[in-house]
Every structure is written in C-alpha cells, then in structure tokens.
C-alpha cells in the first residue's frame, strides 16, 4: 500500500497524456443543469452590460488604462458597503483596469485575496462580481491563503448562488495554479458539507475529486455519498467520487461500480482557460511553449499524432528513479531530488542545482531554458547520448521531404526552430542535427523550411569529419547555382554564421582547459580553409550569374569581413584573400557602399598581415604556422590595383594580377576615351562620381561645366574631408593606412609590406 502514497497526485505520471486536473474540467461543457443555465444567463447578461459599459467608457478608456493595478486593488480593498456600478465612475474605472490588466498580463498572487474577498462578500451586484471573477487569471500562482479566505466567505452565504457556482468552476479550472494545497485540503469537510446543495453538487464533487487523499476517505463520508446516490440516482459526478474512494479504501466501498468508465465531469473551461493560455503565451514572449508545457496546459495537438512521435515533450521527473534506484544512486543526492516540473525560476535552479535530475525524456529540455542552463553545467555523456538518439529519430521521422506521407510542414518548421534556438543557447551544434543535414540536404528542394534549415547549417559542429564536403557543400552549391538571388544571399549569410561559430568554438577549444579531443590546430585550419574556399567559389560564380548584383556583393563582402580579421580576432594563423572574381567586381562596383566595404576589408587585411609580420619577426614564440609569401604577394597585387584605381590613376599600367586590369596602351587608345589615364581615382571612379559632382557644386556653385580637374591640391584634401563626412569610414581608414600622402613615401610603404 505504500506505493499508493497519500495523494492522487503521485499517480499522475501514470496517466498517459499527463492530463492535469485542469484538463479534466474540460469535459464539463455539455452539462445542462439548471444552475449552469442560470449562471450562463447571468454571464451573458453581464457580458452585455459589459459591452454597454465599454461603449460608455469609450471616452474614458484612456483614463482606465492609466489606472494602475495597485490603485485598483487598493480601491477594491477599501471599498465599503454596497456600491452600485451605475453612476459610479470610480468603480467603472477600476473594474476596467483590473479586467484589461488581467487579460493582458494576468494578475499577481497578491491580487487574489483582495478580489476574492470582494467578490464573495457580496458588496457589489452580481454583474460586477461576475466580471471580477472572470478576470481572475493568474500570472504565476494563486496563494493558498486566498482560496482559504474565499471558502470561508463561501460558508457565510453572503454571495448569490450563481456567484458561488462560478467561483467553484473557477477553482476547478485554476486548481493546478494554487501554490500549496495543504490548507485547502484541511477544508475538505467544508466542501463536503456543500454536497447537499443540489445545484453546487456536481462542482463540489469535482473539487472533492481533485482534493481527496486517502485520509479523507471516512466511513461516514462513504455513507453520505451512498445516501445521496440513493436520493439522486446514479449521477456521474457521485460515481467518480465513489470510485476514487473505492480506490483508496476498497474495504469501505463495497458496492460495485460500473467498470466501463465514461467521462465523469463534463467540460467547463469557463471563461478562463483561453485567457490563461493567452496570458501565458504573452508572458513567455519568445518561448510560448515552455510554461504551458510545464503546467501541462499545452493545447492538445490538433492533428492526431502517431503515438510514437511527439515533437514537444513535457518535462516530467524520471519516474524510473522513484523506486529502488540503488544502482544509480548518486553519492551527493542522499536526499530526494527536486522534481523538474516545479522548476520555474532561475533562483530555484540555483538553489536546487545539486539535487536536480534531468527529466525522464531528454527531449523536453529543448523548450526549457532553465534545463538548458543546467545542461550547460553538467557535462555527462549520457545526457548528450539520450538527446542524440531522440533528436535523430524525430528529425528523420518528421522530415517533410524525406517521409512521403508527412505534410505537416508548420510543425516540422517549429521543431527545427526550437532546435536552432537551443543550439544558440548552448552555443554548440547537436550532432544529431548535423547528421540529419548530411542525410537530408541531398534530397532537399531548397524551399521547404528554408530559413530553418539554413539556420541549422550555421551550427554544424567544427569537429565534423571531411564528409561535410560531399554531404553539405555539394548539395548546397547545386541549390545555390540554381536558385534565386535571395536564396544565394541567405546561403551566404548562414555560411558566414557557420564560420563565426567555428571561429568562436576554436577560441574555446584552443584554450587548454577545454581542449577537445580531435580538433587539432591543423585540422581546424583545414576545415576553415575549405569553407572559405567554398564560399569563394560560390561567390565568384554567383556574381557572374547575378550580374554583379550589389545585394549579393554585400553578403559576400560581409563574409569576408569575418575572414579578414581571423588572425587578430580569433588568433587563427590563417588569412585568405577573396578571389579575383570577388575582388574586381567589388573594386569596380558602381556602388559606393560596396567600394567602402571593400576598403574596410583591405584595411583589416593589412592590419592583420602587419601584425603577423611583426610577430614573426619578434620570434618570441616558435610559430607553428606562418603565412605563406603567396598571401603577401596576393595582398600586394590587390593593394596595387586599389591604389592605382583610387589614388594614383595608374590601374591600367600597374595592376600585375593575372586577372587584373592592366591593359596595353594601344588597346586603351582604341577605346577613344580621352584621358583614360585619369579615369580611375576617387574623383572619377563610377562609385564616387556622385560625391565629386556634389562636391563641385558645393565649392563652386557658379560653375556648371563640372570641371573635375578643379579637384586637386588643397581642394583634393577638402574633397577627402567631404568624403569622410559622408560616412565613407572604410575609405577613410584605408586611405589613412595604405596610402602615404607623399607619393614616393607610398611606394616605400608598399615595399615595407612586401618585405
């Protein structure tokens, strides 16, 4: 008998859907007893009045919004004597305030005692009481005391029958929100005495059903119930209570009850259920599922699911650990473990972190930020293994393009989104997710769940094997080449995030404390190199396909903004310059934003290379890796082209890059362009022409011929200042670092870098 333990709650894990008792009340809707009707009449009456009031209040609506909850509560606390709603603007105002706040945020625990006092003491008319009762929507919990007070008011019979009935319905609906039930249970006898009230009887039975513990079952109560049954006939609510009594004390209830059970209590979610869910969702913000999942108030899945796949799992304590876990007993947890269902706040987590156990199904941690925190602290292989198997199977089972008859895309999408959020939270990718991508990307059409899939790509772990090339890069490249510009941009964006995640992870990994087993520096460098070269190829081809689209260039250069800083920012001995297919389209872009971005990137390359050179020369530490001369050479070729293009107007003569702009003079003459020599510098560059025109208009407004040759000498300096003031920060840092204002010195500078 020990395992029965005293309370019904201990049985709850046995129920399949973890239906909480609040859900039980969902069966009472179809009840058509008289009290119900009358109360509904009341409600609808109240509702109408409500509407009228609101119409009357339209002008005063702003007023009511401004009344704070504190003020409203203190009003209700102090209000004396019978007050009518009509012609009482203060009451109207405060009532509206409570209603709107309750519906939006729910009410704080301290509000319940005050409002229940008012409602059940009969100070107001029933319309007001009904409205107040309807707004009793908990934001977090309901203090036990307020319920005890309410029950004592109930005994005084000051409120009308319909309000009493509505209160009981409210109590049933919010039962699971009451923070503690010891004292409420102590009132068992009071509740029981209400059974004689014919109208309240079904609801009282339901309350008792929720409250009953083994010690509450007494012979006199059994007799009383049997008497009632004899008087009223076989009522389902009485049967429910009797069968519960029989379960606890079979020796006391000797009558046979029908074994075929139907629903005992009919659904009556009342006006609260929907509002409570809405409040819950709103308060949770980004993670609407969490709380609902905690309290078991989540809406049942609309689609009838296959039994073995549940994408959102409720966090429930490991029932497995309850009985005889000697084998798995932890040295530290001699006292009992803290049930995860009760874990709701961060301080709770901190207080109980030493005797907290992961839920019975690891999948439930995904929607639970607190458990994710805990997961971050506990480095236990079995946690990851459990999650790995669960997630791997779920992804395969639910993948909409791998499983033929699976069409529920929205559900799968939100599942992927959940995984992504958890990955961001933990700052690491799940291996199961990586495997799923490797298996499913080759079959992906590139449109189904696109944002979610691409986000998940950004969390492929760094430690993945070289297979990533064929399983991820291959399919992605195919889709990239054949899809729209926007797809291309989003692929590049997620690859940039992938690179950043790898680099961040490498910083942690190289930290000896977190030294991971198989990420050697050379392995890391190879992985990163492969990725950057892959993006380089994508970019080169993509730019051709999209005719050097500015949007695409922006995303490409955004990627290289991370690449150019790898040495200094992430301490990675690797710098890879963009391919010529990216560099030249950017350099010759018609768009100043692109040119400015390129200037900034080249400035960062320079800073990184100079720092590397200095390190190398100081030779303080033995360098495992150093940049090859090729890198320096390539950089110098690019920088020569840039300086020629933006400053010295020598791009056609000096660009030595094999894919560069160098052209023979004869050929240039054939173009019949006059002054081709000067046609590329910060004045004439197509991306800058707009600025130079505006600048000319400003310095000599009278001259309408636009004589660009005027920009020289001192005016050249003014022009530069003008450009800087227009927000071309990248250009500024580039010119200030890479161009020595005395032209000879600039050559020296270039040589410096070359050396």
């Amino acid at each position: 008998m020990n395992q029965i333990r005293s309370s019904r709650t201990s049985k709850r894990p046995l129920e399949v859907d973890h239906k909480s008792q609040t859900d039980l009340s969902a069966w009472r809707k179809r009840e058509r007893t008289d009290p119900e009707k009358s109360s509904q009449n009341h409600q609808s009456l109240g509702g109408q009045k409500n509407d009228i009031n609101q119409k009357n209040d339209v002008s005063g609506k702003n007023d009511s919004q401004e009344v704070s909850l504190e003020k409203a509560l203190s009003y209700f606390e102090k209000v004396q004597g019978r007050v009518s709603l009509r012609n009482n603007s203060a009451l109207q105002k405060h009532l509206a305030a409570v209603e709107s706040i309750a519906l939006q945020q729910g009410l704080p625990p301290e509000a319940f005692e005050i409002l229940l006092n008012v409602v059940l003491s009969g100070k107001f008319a029933d319309t007001v009481n009904t409205r107040l009762l309807k707004s009793l929507i908990p934001a977090s919990v309901i203090p036990e005391n307020s319920v005890v007070t309410a029950v004592s008011w109930l005994c005084t019979n000051k409120s009308s029958g319909s309000i009493q009935l509505l209160f009981l319905r409210w109590l049933i609906t919010v039962f699971d929100f009451i923070d503690n039930k010891e004292q409420v249970n102590a009132l068992y006898g009071f509740f029981f005495s209400f059974l004689q009230d014919e109208k309240l009887c079904p609801y009282i039975c339901h309350v008792l059903y929720l409250l009953t513990r083994k010690e509450n079952v007494k012979p006199f109560r059994v007799r009383r119930l049997l008497d009632l049954q004899a008087k009223m006939g076989m009522q389902p609510h009485l049967q429910a209570l009797l069968s519960l009594y029989k379960l606890f004390c079979p020796e006391l209830v000797t009558i046979t009850l029908p074994t075929k059970t139907k629903t005992y209590f009919k659904s009556s979610e009342g006006p609260w259920k929907a509002a409570m869910n809405a409040v819950r969702q709103r308060n949770q913000g980004g993670t609407p599922l969490t709380q609902a999942v905690f309290l078991g108030t989540a809406q049942p899945q609309s689609r009838k699911r296959k039994w073995n796949t549940q994408l959102v799992l409720p966090a429930s304590s490991a029932s497995n650990s309850e009985v005889g876990t000697e084998k798995y007993c932890d040295l530290f947890s001699t006292d009992e473990t803290f049930p995860v269902e009760q874990l709701q706040t961060f301080p709770q987590l901190l207080q109980n972190i030493h005797h907290l156990e992961f839920p019975s199904q690891m999948g439930s941690v995904l929607t639970n930020p607190l458990l994710l925190h805990y997961m971050n602290c506990v480095r236990d292989e079995s946690i990851y293994l459990r999650l790995y198997y669960w997630m791997g199977q779920m992804l395969q089972e639910e993948c909409t393009w791998c499983v033929v008859d699976n069409t529920n895309e929205t559900e799968f999408k939100s599942f992927l989104e959940t995984i992504y959020k958890a990955e961001c939270f933990l700052q690491e990718g799940f291996p199961a997710c990586e495997e799923f991508l490797c298996k499913s990307l080759p079959l992906w059409d590139g449109s189904c769940c696109r944002p979610e899939i691409l986000k998940l790509v950004s969390w492929i772990p760094l430690s993945s094997s070289p297979e990533i090339k064929s399983y991820v890069y291959g399919p992605l490249a195919q889709l990239f080449f054949t899809s729209s510009l926007y797809f291309k941009c989003s692929v590049l964006e997620s690859l940039k995030e992938l690179l950043e995640n790898w680099l961040n992870c490498s910083v942690n990994d190289m930290d000896p404390e977190f030294h991971s087993l198989n990420t050697t520096l050379s392995g890391l460098v190879n992985m990163v190199t492969d990725l950057i070269h892959f993006v380089g190829r994508l970019s080169t081809v993509g730019l051709r396909l999209e005719k050097n689209s500015t949007l695409l260039l922006f995303f490409i250069l955004d990627f290289y903004e991370t690449v150019c800083d790898m040495y200094l920012k992430y301490n990675l001995p690797l710098l890879i310059l963009p391919p010529a297919g990216v560099f030249y389209p950017a350099l010759l872009s018609m768009d100043s934003v692109t040119l400015n971005q390129l200037c900034y990137i080249m400035y960062r390359y320079r800073t990184n290379l100079v720092a590397a050179k200095e390190n190398e020369e100081s030779k303080k530490k033995i360098l495992q890796f150093k940049f090859s001369n090729e890198t320096y050479k390539e950089y110098n070729q690019y920088i020569t082209a840039m300086v020629g293009c933006l400053w010295t107007s020598t791009v056609f003569q000096k660009d030595t890059h094999p894919q560069g702009l160098r052209m023979d003079e004869e050929l240039l003459n054939k173009t019949l362009v006059k002054d081709f020599k000067t046609s590329f510098n910060i004045v004439y560059h197509p991306a800058m022409l707009g600025y130079s025109v505006n600048f000319l208009k400003e310095i000599c407004p009278e001259d309408t011929t636009l004589n660009f040759k005027l920009i020289k000498g001192k005016r050249w300096d003014w022009y530069l200042e003008y450009l800087y003031s227009q927000g071309l920060e990248g250009l500024k840092v580039f010119i200030e670092s890479s161009i020595n204002r005395v032209s000879q010195a600039s050559r020296r500078e270039a040589e410096n870098v070359e050396a």
Partner: protein, 363 residues
C-alpha cells in the same frame, strides 16, 4: 526515413547486410553438418565489411573492421519452448534506441507499473492504483536463449494477457498482445555504449496496434527511447530471398514466392512469382561460390536470373517493379516491416539480419 534517403550510403548498407547474410549461410552450413558435434561455423575468416555504424555524433567512419566470432547459437542449448513463441506469427518490426537506465533486475516492477499505466490509459484520467489486480495482466521476462555475441543483451519479452473473469486461478490467460526486444549480434551499437544504456535495438510486436501504442509510449517515457517502424527496403528483401533460398531444410516445404507491385497504375497490380524451392536452391547453388560467404554480386546475379526467366515467359521486366514481399520455408518478410519466421533453426539468423537493419535506422 524513406529508403531512398541515403543514396550515398547504399554501398555501406549493402556491406552490412552481407555480414548477416554470411552468418546466415554459415548457419546453413552448420545445420548440414552433424548437429551434435556443434562445431563453430567458420566465420572467422570471413571478410567483414566496414561497419556502417559510426561512433555516435560523428559522421566519420570509425574503423573497426574486426571480425566477429559468434558464440554457439544459444537457442539450441536453451529451452526451445520459450523461443518457439516467436515462430509462425506475423511480427511488426520496430527499431528502438538504447534504453536509458533499464534494469534487468526490476522486470517485475516494470510489469506492475506498465500494468497500471495501461489501466490508467484505458480509464482516461481516473486515478489508478499501482499493483492491484487489473483486468489486463502484464508480464515482462528475459529470454536469455535469444542473443548472439557476448555483448548482446538477452531479449526481453512483454506479454499482455486478459485475466479470465470466471476463475482467476486459471493460468490459461489469453494472450492479447506480445512484444519482444532483442539484439542478435548488435555489436555495432552496443560497442562503447555507456553503462546506463541497454541496447535492444529490434522490437517485434504482435497484436493490436492500440496496445502497441500504449506499451511503446510507456517504454518511451520510462527509458527515454524512441520506437520507429522498421520498413524493409526492396534491396534488403533481395538479400533475404537469396539467403533463405540457400538454407537447407529437412522436408520439402512451401515454394519460394516473391510479390512485386507495379507502381503508378490506377489500380494496384501485384505480381506473384512462385518458384519450386528445390529449383531455386539449385539456381542459387550454381551462383554462390564460397561457402559461408555471400556477396552483393551473387545476389544481383540470382535476382537477374529470376527476372530474365520471368521475362522470357511473360515479357514483363520485374526489375522495373517494386519487390514488396518475399516468402520462403525459412521466413517471410514484407516491405512494410512485417516478418514471420517459420523455422526455429534459423530464428537467430533472421533476427541478426533484422537487428542490423534496426541499427542502421537508429544510427
């Protein structure tokens, strides 16, 4: 995932199946020899393909190309009555991820809890007492006869039976549903598995789906595992038919039958192709070279021969249809993942092959 979901891995898959096939053939060899001598099948020299399985969490192939030496097939030594209940029933196949904190010493407790869970599920939200007499009796028991290698966990049998209302003492309860967790040569999975996990990757179920869902749900919640239906690809079916055709059975038995379905027709059209078992075996014996080893090529040749024979008579290319079911004297298998084993001697062999399929679905 659908069968086509891993095109790049078909080769690896094939190799895996091959190992099972080899063991199967080896068993056939053994059965041909003197059973009393119980000589070890000489699997040691068989080349074992790279396992498809990887260390969890990595896509990298863990190079563990070692050879497996199976223990003597324990079903012969154990109580044949116990494993006999697996025979001649249509079993629906599931793969199950490793069970977390499954404790073999507590089967009795588990049966009690599962019984209460089933009762609670049937009563929809009404409180249920753990441990009282319920109208459905649950029994969990070990089947130590059913395992392959030393690392394998013994099978676990789950049986639901209805308590006869009239006389509770009557031991002849009617079995409503039964299920069996097993693992025969599941070393790919059980290797390096932490202690807290129990690998029983293959689950067989017989009985109403509604019971399956309740029992499966309970196991999923209690041991943090996942059940998934295990479909058998046409590719695997060709392996099965080749292997089982080559097995020797004492008495002349039923025909080797293959059922094909023709895709993309307004009405479903199934083609059944039955071959006399001795003819099929004669064909297989001419194709198969090394005793105890089967290769992909041999299976392909075998199927091609059958296809071309069929084409000669009916002018239908069976290779363009989908193989949905194979049945032989040893066992029959449907692509939906339903298997019936007919011959007790080959039970382990069939389960070994199915274990491999289950593991490849899990990893």
């Amino acid at each position: 995932m659908a069968a086509g979901a891993r095109p790049a891995r078909a080769g690896a898959d094939g190799r895996r199946v091959r190992t099972a096939a080899a063991a199967m053939a080896a068993m056939a060899v053994e059965s041909a020899e003197d059973g009393a001598a119980r000589t070890l099948p000489s699997l040691g020299r068989l080349s074992r393909g790279l396992p498809f399985g990887r260390a969890y969490g990595r896509l990298g192939n863990s190079p563990s190309g070692r050879l497996i030496l199976p223990a003597p097939l324990s079903q012969e030594s154990g109580d044949p009555q116990r494993t006999a209940l697996l025979l001649r029933k249509a079993w629906t196949l599931y793969s199950v991820t490793p069970l977390y904190r499954f404790c073999r010493g507590r089967l009795r407790d588990y049966a009690r809890l599962l019984g209460a869970f089933i009762a609670a599920e049937r009563q929809k939200g009404l409180a249920v007492e753990v441990g009282v007499e319920l109208d459905i009796k649950v029994a969990l028991s070990s089947l130590p006869e059913l395992l392959g290698s030393e690392q394998d966990q013994p099978a676990v049998l789950v049986q639901l039976s209805s308590r006869s209302q009239a006389s509770s003492k009557n031991s002849e309860d009617k079995i409503l549903w039964s299920g069996c967790f097993c693992c025969v040569y599941g070393d790919d999975l059980s290797e390096n598995m932490p202690e807290d996990f129990t690998c029983l990757p293959l689950f067989l179920a017989n009985g109403a789906e509604s019971y399956m869902s309740v029992v499966g749900n309970w196991f999923q919640k209690t041991f943090d595992c996942i059940f998934r239906r295990l479909a058998i690809s046409p590719f695997s079916l060709t392996w099965m038919v080749a292997m089982w055709t080559g097995c020797k059975v004492d008495k002349a038995t039923s025909a080797v039958e293959l059922v094909f379905s023709v895709p993309r027709l307004p009405q479903p059209l199934d083609i059944s192709y039955a071959i006399h078992p001795e003819d099929a075996k004669a064909l297989w014996d001419t194709i198969q070279k090394t005793p105890g080893e089967i290769t992909q090529e041999e299976v392909d040749v075998f199927m091609d021969c059958l296809y071309s024979h069929f084409h000669r008579h009916f002018k239908i290319h069976l290779s363009a249809t989908k193989l949905v079911k194979v049945s032989t004297a040893i066992a029959s298998a449907h692509c939906d993942g339903i298997v019936k084993v007919l011959h007790s001697q080959y039970l382990s062999g069939v389960l070994m092959l199915l274990t491999e399929l289950a593991i490849s679905q899990i990893q």
